[in-house]
C-alpha cells in the first residue's frame, strides 16, 4: 500500500511539472508589458526629464524583480540570426521590434549597430541643452514642443519595425531637427542612425533565419527562478515556499492574497461535497432498491433536469425569486456577512449564525449539480449490485430488505461513487468561479474573475497551478479510499 502511494506520488511529479510549465507558458505569453504596468501604477509626478530617468531606473528595478531580465527557459530553439542576448532588452515593445527586424533581415551585427546608435541618439538628446543665447530668438514653448516631439518620435522609433514606418519617422525627425539651426548638433548622431538603418537593409542575410540553432542558458532563467527562487532576493520560489510572485494590481505577494481569500471557497466546497454525499446516497439507494417505481421515475427525471441546469441560471433565478424586494425578500442577495461585519468578539458559531441566511442560496447552487451527478452514479452502481447473486442469496436467507440493501449492497455500491470524489473536489473549485462572482463571495473564484478583468496574470497562473495540484491530490485520495473500501483491489 505504502509502496503504491509512493509510486503514485512519483508519477505525479512529471504531471505537476508539466502543469507548472503550462501555467508558465500562459503567463509569458500574456499581452501587455508587466514592467510598464508596475511602473505606471507606482509613478511619481516629477519633472519631464527627471521622471524619464527615474522611470528608467524603476523599469530596471521591476524588470529584475519580476525576473524579466533573464532568458525564458533552460534552452530555446532559435535561428542562427537570433543573438543569445536579446532577452536583456527589458522593454517588451523594443524587444519585439528587434525580433521582427531580425526575422526580416537576419543580420544581428547591423541591427545591433543600428539599435545602439539609436539609443545613443536618444541619450544624447536627453542631455542636450541648447545655448540660452540662441534660444532667445525663438518662441520658448514652440522650441519645447519641437524638442518633445523629437524625443517622442525617436523613442517610438525604437519600437517600430516596419520599413515604411521607420522611414516616415526618419523623415519626420530630420525635418524636426532642421527646423531650428541650433539643433544641428543633433544631426550627426541622427545621420548615423539613418546610415545604420540603410546598411541593415543593404547587408541583409535572410538565410540565417532558416538555420535552426539551440541556445542553452543554464539555470539562470525565468522558469527556474519561478520554481526555485533566487535565494530570497526577489522571489523565494514556488516549489518550496509557495511564492507565486507579486500581484500586478495590489503589489502584494500572491500567496498572501490567496491566503486571505481561500477560506470561503474551501468552506463552500467542503460544505457542498458533504451535503451532496449526504443527500445523494440515500436517494440513489432508494431509487435503485425500487427500480421502476414511482420514486425512481420522479427522482430520475428531477435529477436529470437538475443535471442539465446551468448553475448561473439557477443562481440568478434564486436571487430573482428569494432575494428580490419585488417578489420575496427572504434572503440577502450577495456577500457572506452583513455590511457592518460581525460584532466584536463573536465566536465561530455566532458568526455562522449571522452568516447563515447569506450561505443558503450559494450553498444550494454549489451543491445541486454534484448532487445530481452523484445520485445518478449511486443509482446505477446500486442497480448493478442489486442484480448480483449474493444479494439474492442474502434475500433467500430471509434477511430484511433494509439489511440486504444497507449491509450487503451499499458498501459495494460505494466504489464508483468514491472514484467520483476526485472529480467533485476540483469541480467545486472550478465551478466556484461563476457562483462566487454571482453572489459576490470574497473567495478564490471572484478573485480569479477580478484577476482576469485586470490582466493580473500571476494570480491566474497561481489559481491554475493550485487547482491542478488539488486535482492530483483528489485523485490520490480517491485511489487510497478505493483501496480501503475494496480489499479485492491490489496495487501491484
Amino acid at each position: 500500500m505504502l509502496q503504491y502511494i509512493v509510486k503514485r506520488i512519483l508519477i505525479f511529479i512529471p504531471t505537476l511539472i508539466v502543469i507548472t510549465l503550462l501555467g508558465f507558458i500562459i503567463s509569458i505569453n500574456a499581452p501587455g508589458d508587466p514592467v510598464e504596468r508596475m511602473v505606471s501604477s507606482s509613478q511619481n509626478n516629477g519633472e519631464q526629464g527627471a521622471q524619464s530617468i527615474s522611470q528608467k531606473e524603476q523599469k530596471k528595478f521591476w524588470c529584475s524583480k519580476l525576473g524579466l531580465d533573464l532568458p525564458v527557459f533552460y534552452f530555446s530553439l532559435t535561428s542562427l540570426a537570433c543573438p543569445d542576448t536579446l532577452y536583456k532588452i527589458y522593454d517588451k515593445n523594443e524587444r519585439e521590434a528587434l525580433g521582427r527586424l531580425i526575422s526580416k533581415y537576419g543580420n544581428w551585427q547591423e541591427i545591433q549597430k543600428y539599435y545602439s546608435s539609436l539609443i545613443r541618439f536618444n541619450e544624447f538628446q536627453l542631455v542636450f541643452v541648447a545655448d540660452s543665447n540662441l534660444l532667445k530668438q525663438y518662441d520658448k514653448s514652440a522650441v519645447l514642443e519641437t524638442m518633445n516631439q523629437i524625443r517622442f518620435e525617436s523613442s517610438a522609433l525604437k519600437a517600430s519595425y516596419e520599413s515604411s514606418v521607420i522611414e516616415a519617422k526618419n523623415i519626420k525627425i530630420s525635418n524636426l531637427i532642421s527646423s531650428y539651426p541650433f539643433l544641428s548638433s543633433l544631426k550627426p548622431a541622427f545621420e548615423l542612425v539613418k546610415q545604420n538603418y540603410y546598411s541593415i537593409e543593404k547587408n541583409s542575410s535572410t538565410w540565417k533565419n532558416y538555420v535552426p540553432r539551440i541556445a542553452f542558458y543554464g539555470f539562470q532563467n525565468q522558469y527556474h527562478r519561478w520554481l526555485f527562487g533566487d535565494g530570497g532576493k526577489f522571489s523565494k520560489g514556488l516549489l518550496f515556499h509557495g511564492d507565486f510572485g507579486t500581484s500586478y494590481v495590489t503589489h502584494q505577494p500572491i500567496a498572501d492574497v490567496i491566503y486571505s481569500k481561500i477560506g470561503w471557497s474551501l468552506f463552500f466546497s467542503m460544505l457542498s461535497v458533504l451535503l451532496a454525499y449526504l443527500v445523494s446516497i440515500p436517494i440513489g439507494v432508494k431509487a435503485a432498491a425500487n427500480r421502476g417505481g414511482r420514486f425512481d421515475k420522479i427522482s430520475s427525471l428531477v435529477l436529470f433536469l437538475l443535471y442539465s441546469m446551468p448553475s448561473f441560471w439557477l443562481a440568478t433565478l434564486l436571487i430573482m425569486t428569494f432575494a428580490n424586494t419585488d417578489v420575496l425578500h427572504w434572503l440577502p442577495a450577495s456577500g457572506v456577512k452583513p455590511a457592518l461585519g460581525y460584532p466584536d468578539g463573536a465566536s465561530f458559531f455566532e458568526m455562522m449564525k449571522i452568516s447563515f441566511p447569506y450561505i443558503i442560496l450559494p450553498a444550494i447552487c454549489y451543491t445541486y449539480s454534484s448532487f445530481a451527478f452523484l445520485s445518478r452514479t449511486m443509482r446505477v452502481s446500486m442497480i448493478e449490485i442489486v442484480n448480483q447473486d449474493y444479494i439474492r442469496t442474502a434475500k433467500a436467507k430471509g434477511l430484511t430488505e433494509n439489511k440486504v440493501i444497507w449491509k450487503h449492497g451499499f458498501r459495494n455500491a460505494l466504489l464508483p461513487i468514491i472514484t467520483v470524489f476526485a472529480n467533485v473536489f476540483p469541480a467545486a473549485i472550478g465551478g466556484s468561479v461563476i457562483i462566487e462572482s454571482i453572489f459576490t463571495i470574497p473567495g478564490m473564484g471572484s478573485e480569479t474573475i477580478y484577476a482576469i478583468q485586470n490582466n493580473n496574470y500571476p494570480m491566474i497562473i497561481a489559481v491554475l497551478t493550485i487547482t491542478g495540484f488539488l486535482t492530483l491530490i483528489g485523485y490520490l485520495i480517491s485511489d487510497i479510499l478505493y483501496a480501503i473500501v475494496d480489499p479485492r483491489i491490489s496495487f501491484k
Binding site: T15, S103, Y210, P310, M320, S437
Partner: protein, 454 residues
C-alpha cells in the same frame, strides 16, 4: 386489397432488415424506441435549421419590399444598398442596414417573422418593456400608437430596447456552432489519439532506431519551420481577424506536415544502416495517457478562462479552438478503451495476416466498430461546450462584447431583476439545448450498447 399489399410489403421489408441485420439499423431502431431521445433529436434538427435561417427570420430588414416601383429583397441580399432612380432623374440610395423600414413609405413590404435585429435597439420600447406590457409604436408622424401585432416584442426588451426573441434566435447560431464545431475539433483529436494509443499500446508500434531519432529531429525541425520561423506571421494573424489566424495556421500546419514527411522518408533510409536498424518501440499509449492525465487535472473552465484571457482578440473562433483543444480527453479515453478491446479480436488478426497496412486496419476496419462510445461522449461534450460558452459569455469573458449570445442576454438580466424575461428565456434556451444534447447522449448510449439490451 391495396392496403393488404402494402402491409405485406411492410412485413417483407422488416423481414429483409432482419436478414441483412446491420448494427446501424438496429441501433437506429433502438434509438427510435427511446421517445425522449428521439424527440430531442427532432428538436435538435429544428434548432439547427433555425440557426441556419436565423438571419432571415429575425432581422429588421424586410424579406421583400416594393418601394417607388423597385423590388428589393434586403434580408437575402448580399449587397447592403440599392440605388433608386426617381422620375426627375435624381437618385436615392437605400442603405439596407440603417434604413428605418418600419416607417418607410413602401407600396408593399413583407417583414421577417421577428422584425427586429438582435444588435439594434428600439428606442420607443427601451428600459425593459415586458412581453405583456404596454408596448408602443411610433408612426411616421411621431405619434405613439399601440404596438401592432406584427411588430410586437414577444419576449420583451432589454435596457436599450433590444428585442429578446431576436437575440435568442440569433444566439442559437452561436451556441450551436460553438458546441458543434468545438466538438468537431475535439473528436478529431480524441478519436485519432485514442485510436493510436489503444491500437498500438506501448509495444506494437515498431520502428528502427535510426528512423526514431530522425523523426525526433524531424519533429523539432518541423516545429521550427512551421511555427518558429513563421512566429510573427501567426501573431499578426491573431491581431487581424479569425480568418487570418486560420489561414496562417493552415500554412504553418502544412509546412509542419511536409517537413515531417520529408524526415519520415529520410528516416526510412537512415534505418537501413546496420547499427541504426535495431528495432525500438514507441510508447504511444504512455504518451497519450500522460497528456490526458495532465489535461484532466486542470479544471477546464479555469484553463479556458486563462487561455482566453491571453488571447489578444476575443473571437468566437478562438473560443471554439480553445474548447476543442481542451475537451478531447473523454473521447480519447473511450476510443482508447474500445481499441484495446478490438485490437485483440480475431478479425483484426485476420486483417493483419492478410498483410493490410496498419492505417487501413485502424481506420477502415477497427474505427467503425469503436465509434459508438465516442459518439455518446461527443453528444455530452457538445452539451458541456455550450455550457462553457454560455458561462463565459455570462461572465463577459468569452466572446466579443458586441456579440449577442444567450449567456450575454442572461447576464444583462442581472442588472434589473424585475425584468424576469431577460433571465427566464435565455436561461430556458440554454437549459433546453443542454438537456436535448444530454438526452441525445443517453439515448445513443442505450441504443449503441448491446449489453443493455433487455
Amino acid at each position: 386489397m391495396e392496403e393488404k399489399k402494402s402491409h405485406i410489403e411492410n412485413e417483407k421489408i422488416e423481414l429483409g432488415s432482419e436478414k441483412d441485420f446491420s448494427f446501424r439499423k438496429y441501433a437506429w431502431r433502438q434509438f427510435k424506441k427511446n421517445k425522449l431521445a428521439y424527440y430531442s433529436f427532432r428538436i435538435l434538427i429544428f434548432l439547427i435549421i433555425l440557426s441556419v435561417i436565423s438571419p432571415v427570420i429575425a432581422t429588421d430588414e424586410p424579406l421583400y419590399c416594393k418601394y417607388k416601383g423597385v423590388n428589393m429583397f434586403p434580408a437575402f441580399s448580399l449587397f447592403n444598398k440599392c440605388e433608386i432612380k426617381n422620375v426627375d432623374g435624381s437618385s436615392e440610395i437605400i442603405q439596407y442596414d440603417i434604413t428605418d423600414w418600419k416607417r418607410l413609405d413602401a407600396t408593399t413590404i413583407i417583414f421577417a417573422p421577428v422584425a427586429y435585429a438582435a444588435n439594434k435597439t428600439d428606442y420607443d420600447n427601451a428600459d425593459y418593456v415586458s412581453p405583456g406590457g404596454g408596448q408602443v409604436f411610433k408612426d411616421k408622424e411621431g405619434k405613439l400608437l399601440k404596438m401592432p401585432i406584427k411588430f410586437r416584442h414577444w419576449l420583451g426588451t432589454g435596457k436599450a430596447g433590444e428585442d429578446v426573441l431576436s437575440g435568442l434566435i440569433n444566439g442559437t447560431r452561436i451556441s450551436l456552432s460553438i458546441g458543434i464545431l468545438s466538438m468537431l475539433i475535439a473528436s478529431f483529436l480524441g478519436i485519432f489519439l485514442g485510436a493510436m494509443a489503444g491500437y498500438f499500446g506501448d509495444h506494437k508500434l515498431q520502428t528502427t532506431r535510426g528512423s526514431f531519432w530522425t523523426m525526433a529531429i524531424g519533429l523539432l525541425m518541423a516545429y521550427y519551420y512551421g511555427f518558429s520561423v513563421r512566429y510573427y506571421n501567426i501573431i499578426d494573424g491573431f491581431a487581424t481577424s479569425g480568418i487570418a489566424v486560420l489561414f496562417q495556421l493552415l500554412i504553418s500546419i502544412l509546412i509542419f506536415l511536409s517537413v515531417l514527411y520529408l524526415f519520415y522518408m529520410l528516416g526510412k533510409r537512415v534505418g537501413e544502416i546496420s547499427f541504426l536498424s535495431t528495432p525500438v518501440f514507441i510508447p504511444v499509449d504512455s504518451i497519450v495517457s500522460r497528456i490526458i492525465e495532465i489535461l484532466i487535472s486542470m479544471p477546464l473552465l479555469i484553463l479556458i478562462i486563462s487561455i482566453s484571457a491571453i488571447a489578444k482578440e476575443r473571437s468566437i473562433i478562438n473560443l471554439m479552438v480553445i474548447i476543442g483543444l481542451t475537451s478531447w480527453t473523454g473521447i480519447a479515453r473511450l476510443t482508447r478503451a474500445e481499441f484495446l478491446r478490438i485490437s485483440n479480436l480475431e478479425y483484426i488478426q485476420a486483417a493483419k495476416s492478410m498483410g493490410f497496412k496498419e492505417y487501413r486496419i485502424i481506420f477502415r476496419h477497427a474505427l467503425p466498430n469503436a465509434l459508438a462510445p465516442a459518439l455518446v461522449a461527443i453528444a455530452f461534450g457538445v452539451a458541456s461546450a455550450i455550457l462553457i460558452e454560455s458561462s463565459l459569455s455570462f461572465l463577459g469573458i468569452g466572446v466579443p462584447p458586441e456579440t449577442i449570445t444567450w449567456g450575454a442576454l442572461l447576464s444583462a438580466g442581472r442588472e434589473q431583476y424585475s425584468a424576469w424575461w431577460l433571465v427566464v428565456f435565455p436561461g430556458l434556451a440554454i437549459f433546453l439545448t443542454v438537456t436535448i444534447y444530454n438526452l441525445l447522449g443517453e439515448g445513443l448510449r442505450d441504443a449503441l450498447d448491446p449489453r443493455l439490451k433487455k
